[in-house]
Amino acid sequence: MKATIIEPLKPLAPWVSLATDPAAWAAADPATLDTMLTSMVLIRAFEEKVLELAGQGLVHGPAHSAVGQEGGAVGSVLAMRGSDQINGSHRAHHQFLAKALHYVAPDGLKSSAPFGDDVRTIADLTMSEILGLARGYCKGRGGSMHLRWAESGNLGTNAIVGGGVPGAAGAAWAHKRAGTGDVAFTYFGDGAVNIGSVLETMNLAAAWKLPLCFFIENNRYAVSTTVEEATAEPRLSSRGLAFGIPSWKVDGMDPLAVYLAAQEAVKLMRAGEGPTIIEADVYRYFHQNGPMPGSAFGYRSKDEEKAWRARDPIDRVAAEMAARQLIGEDQVASLRARAVALMNEIAGELIEEHEGKRRIVPSLWPSPDFRDFGVRGDLSEFQGARFVEQEEFTGEIEEKRFVDVVADVMDRRMQEDQGVVVMGEDVHRLRGGTNGATRGLSDKYPDRVLGTPIAENAFVGLAGGIAMDGRNTPVVEFMYPDFMWVAADQVFNQIGKARHMFGGDGEVPLVLRTKVAMGTGYGSQHSMDPAGIYATAPGWRIVAASTPYDYVGLMNSALKCKDPVLVLEHVDLYNSKGPAPVGDLDYFIPLGKAKRLRTGQRLTVLTYLAMVRPVLEAVERLGVDADVIDLRSLDRAGIDWALIEESIDKTGNVLIVEQGSIGTSYGGWLAAEIQNRCFDMLDQPVQRVHGGEASPSISKVLETAACAGPGEIEAGLRLAMASQGRPLA
């Protein structure tokens, strides 16, 4: 029998608890303590006002208060500088205000001094935003859960649990690359610590040594579910052990302890040591949402609430300051009274009495026509851009392999723009990723071609953060389109909605490349055409080139565009040859411009990507008198209605051809739109060619049957002609 030898393993990074003792309080800078107190009192008064308005039905939507948790936010923010950045979750008024106040008063706030105009403005615009008013930070779009004031380092708070964490990593990446020493804090609660976005981002931030602090406000309840119910290790800072992240556990009701832990964390991060974790034990006095205490809902006791309230962070700081004779009871009372008066005054300007009831002053609401403003940008960044279609190209054109041109144009852009950074799984190896689309790039730009862990949600979210930061343009590759489901929150809830949700002005210049792989035998989970999903999700632009020449111009436009752009590629095209420019890789093809490849009188065929060529072949072979249009831009804003309507007005008949399955197909929404816009032009319903219902299987025969191919295209053409009384021979 062999003996088993067991030796303890040592985690790479330290995991410690940090607490204050009387000496720490005695040594604390009085001005810092005064700022801490003043900030917390202002935040408390603000939040209590919001709860009061919520109780009167004046806050539309939830009011998630952090009353009781101010110590964590204020303690940590005071360890930062103005150029550092934070984001948070659905419960973030306190973090947002703490950061904003610290930004406008970098030298601190004085409890004895009147509140400045800056303070008043912050409270006004934040309250206006929470009420959904036009003057709010996000013009009323964001409300309580989407507060963004980029200038102050507030990147934007988030209603998806853990959803903001990857984006904060993007901000941290941009800081690291800029070499400024700035850091980012991402705040989230005990409920978020178990979600993939957070854990994936911890891993990624540690692997890439990003200056990001994961600040866990452990308030013990995810709505009503206790932390002990949700995890076997309720000491949540333990998560750092798994990723090699130095971690601190502190009492969040002790703002000084939080401040001291944050100072240590910031010091490490500024020194380039990578991410940190701070877990602060805090308590929200009220329920998840609204002005009732949690005990009213039965998931915790009044005694428990009473015990936590006895450790109130404001009282604690006031008491410690009093002990050092830095402040008197009257001064504290006066500070609180002035803060309450300020909030009453601000609310008074937003609320009026009308027929005996309180209501929002009507003129403050946003105009309903603001509804869709800023879903995407206005493309003004293209002013003066050199748009050149292939027919107008004066240089030499040669037949080149599509995938080589994909790599060539990216090489050109990375050479011209130091901000272009490519990331994705294996993009840095295998001589250009799994298909050669990034060939040669990692040799030339090793620090800008980032092979990622297999964590689409984290790395695309991180790229979203880089894009919103604005100093760099990320180009993300999803090895297969289906992986978007893994990253769906970041792709659709975060990246796609960010611009609009935060007021419509922010830019999100991100390029997402992915290849449609139908025909490769990769089966049900690797074979979708994602165009239909992106087209129905707001915010995304989509381009799909069918020739190398168009790819160059469309990729250049995607990179120049200040919105997220999905660039669709196709494995069938990669190894095909097509017309490509020689020498000139700098021209653009407009977003929103389709291309008529063939002119006819009886049918308008709309198609894109790898279906373009087989459609042209079938139309010629069968002698169909058809307009064939390569859509090229596929998003709602990119549909070239001028060309399409002109064509349909002439032909009266439309066939939309796509390869993928019907469920998530692209053509459905487009057909509906055409039927709405062109009803009186139509001689038959919009006809469609698409794949079957099921996702393509691995078996070659079944895969072929699942995808639309030449047979389905011919059948579609025949049907569209027969249905107008002109059957093909």
């Binding site: 009186d680 001689d683 249905s723 107008q724 009384g725 002109r726």
Partner: protein, 424 residues
């Protein structure tokens, strides 16, 4: 579950069809493409081919029944079904459709009269629904074009799926019936019955109705004028005799065959007469396609001799002969009588000396040919006998002026009187 086969629209304008006879009976298995019945339409008797295979479970419209286009005429059995499984509902439905089609209700008649006024049309549409009127399916584009051209969709033959009227059908209808803003407002006269006069009422066939409607429209809306010419045809008769003798029975040319060929060649010389009025334009046809009026028991049919200007006389002769036979047998296909650029009507065989014909719209001209008869003519100051044939050209003045018509007749006369030129 059983499925039905509906009365198909076999030609443009077909509203209903009569089952001439069933070729299959209940219990028979039918294959796709198999002829299952003969359908009598306004112009011809046509074969109905099965578009789906199956077993005949029930015949809903028996021999002789007249059924609206689109109404089910036969039920095919579903898997495992027996003929006895089919309930009466389907049959009842068809009877209703059949009755509605055979006897247009006053409401339906009113609909037609009111069609000119869109608001009234909508009201009548809902009234019509109660009278079992079947709405003709049509594409949005077809409806728009019909509205613009003042055409009625009801009654048009739909080329689209399930008989849907599509653009091509509107275009065909517009070519047949020149659009006119006033056209849809024609009010049908109330039926007239003599009071103290015994009579036999002969029901109108669909064909009779179409003839009545189209000729009434032509005479009422097309500004006709008439040009007459006498042609001496002794040389033509000689030539005809020689050619027929040489043909040794392989062909037998008629005077009318020469008339067709001469008219075709004259149209080639005066293409302005080979035209149609299309409201916004005059359409000058590229081909010379001569419609030849053929009398049948059911009425007049106009089978077409296509590209008659380039056809050999013997070919024209053979074609006219077979088509006349087929027309009388009710076997003409729509493509064989729809279209044409110029019509010739010859009543010479009945001894008619001369007559003026009604234009066959949208064509601009029709040539009425009388009998060849021996008449005294003055030549070199002396009165001599000659065989003379009087021809009258009816002309649509909107498309063709008098001088053009005269040039055509002059060219025609020259060809007829120097018939060797016809053979060139």
């Amino acid at each position: 579950m059983s499925h039905s086969i509906e009365m198909p629209a076999l030609s443009a304008g077909m509203e209903q069809g009569t089952i001439a006879r069933w070729l299959k009976a209940v219990g028979d298995t039918i294959a796709v493409g198999e002829v299952i019945a003969e359908i009598e339409t306004d112009k011809a008797t046509m074969e109905l081919e099965a578009e789906q295979a199956g077993t005949i479970g029930r015949i809903l419209a028996g021999d002789g029944a007249t059924v609206a286009v689109g109404a089910p005429i036969v039920l095919l059995l579903g898997d495992g079904e027996q003929a006895a499984d089919l309930g009466d509902d389907a049959a009842a439905e068809t009877r209703q459709a059949s009755v509605a089609a055979a006897q247009p209700t006053p409401v339906a008649a009113e609909r037609a009269a009111l069609a000119a006024e869109p608001a009234a049309e909508v009201a009548a549409e809902s009234a019509g629904a109660g009278a079992s009127h079947r709405r003709t399916p049509s594409s949005p584009l077809a409806r728009r074009l019909a509205r613009e051209q003042g055409l009625e969709i009801d009654g048009l033959n739909g080329s689209g799926p399930r008989g849907r009227v599509v653009r091509i059908d509107i275009e065909a209808a517009a070519a047949v019936q020149p659009a006119s803003s006033a056209a849809p407002a024609v009010v049908k006269p109330a039926p007239v019955r003599p009071v103290n006069q015994p009579f036999v009422e002969i029901p109108l066939t669909t064909m009779r109705k179409v003839i009545a409607r189209r000729l009434a429209e032509s005479k009422a809306t097309v500004p006709h004028f008439y040009l007459e010419v006498d042609c001496e045809i002794d040389a033509l008769l000689d030539l005809r005799e020689r050619l027929n003798a040489e043909g040794e029975g392989q062909y037998r040319l008629s005077v009318n065959d020469f008339v067709i060929k001469a008219a075709a060649l004259a149209l080639r010389q005066v293409p302005d007469a080979n035209s149609a009025w299309a409201e916004d334009a005059i359409l000058q046809f590229e081909d010379v396609d001569i419609s030849v009026a053929v009398a049948t028991d059911g009425g007049l049919l106009t089978p077409i001799v296509r590209q008659a200007d380039t056809a050999a006389l013997s070919g024209i002769s053979a074609r006219v002969k077979t088509m006349a036979e087929r027309a009388r047998a009710g076997q003409l296909q729509p493509a064989e009588y729809q279209g044409g650029s110029f019509t010739i009507s010859n009543l010479g065989m009945f001894g008619v000396r001369a007559f003026a014909a009604i234009i066959n719209p949208p064509q601009s001209c029709i040539l009425a040919v009388g009998a060849a008869e021996s008449r005294p003519v003055v030549k070199g100051g002396a009165c001599v006998p000659a065989t003379v044939m009087s021809c009258t050209l009816s002309v649509d003045h909107r498309a063709v002026d008098g001088a053009v018509g005269a040039r055509f007749l002059s060219a025609f006369k020259a060809l007829i009187e120097q018939p060797l030129r016809v053979l060139l």
